[in-house]
Symmetry: C2
Subunit: 147 residues, 2 copies
Amino acid sequence: MNQYHITYESISVEEVTNKVNHPNHGASISFIGTTREFTHGQKTVLLEYEAYIPMALKTLEQIGKEINEKWNGVLTAITHRLGKVEVGEISVVIAVSSPHRDHCYEASRYAIERLKQIVPIWKKEIWEDGSEWKGHQLGPWNPTKPL
Amino acid sequence: MNQYHITYESISVEEVTNKVNHPNHGASISFIGTTREFTHGQKTVLLEYEAYIPMALKTLEQIGKEINEKWNGVLTAITHRLGKVEVGEISVVIAVSSPHRDHCYEASRYAIERLKQIVPIWKKEIWEDGSEWKGHQLGPWNPTKPL
């Protein structure tokens, strides 16, 4: 059961959350990102995610390590989905746990911001009348990728 | 499917989280409170929760309304367990969702702090060598309750 996971299948919130269970941890927070229908008034049909998987896993793991250093003992588990993710479906679940809730809120927020910053996952927004790649498509991981 | 629920059964994180699903909400956060084994070095065997149920439901609903006023459109669902809750088991799940994650973090934190402040739920900590009632046992809701 890997704490950091990339999958083309549906994500179970319960499964990711259970990875951070610990008898001394009284609080956990699961952040869930889903495909939403409207962004700035534009109707999204679906999102499509691609990743440079080895580097994505490595950077997810790095986020967990950074969290553990910043908030001693906080456990982290992250699962990100790839491929087509329809409206209402889950693209990412970030679970953290800690003895007390303060650290959970801080660590959870850190994890999602850091994920968007360093994890090489590209997102294609597909609307009724077009599409656009977003995210790390301009990053250093795959400079030959067409825009 | 009530957004605010009090139960003597195990709580499903997925079930509570699904209550705040909305096609325009791209982020949701579920806060999960569990019984932890050690508190200030003292070993807890289990926690036991009691509530003045009608007022507990009313105040949970009030928290949802307050959140909706403070962060327009944020959806909230809260399930709290009563009775015996063993180490590692869930006592409360608070789910919130919003188009964007900022409001989720703020609303989720607000909900748990407010819950502890106004919801008449009593907690008995049962250790290997004793027990103690905590929480609202001194509140105005049930002044005749034995300590």
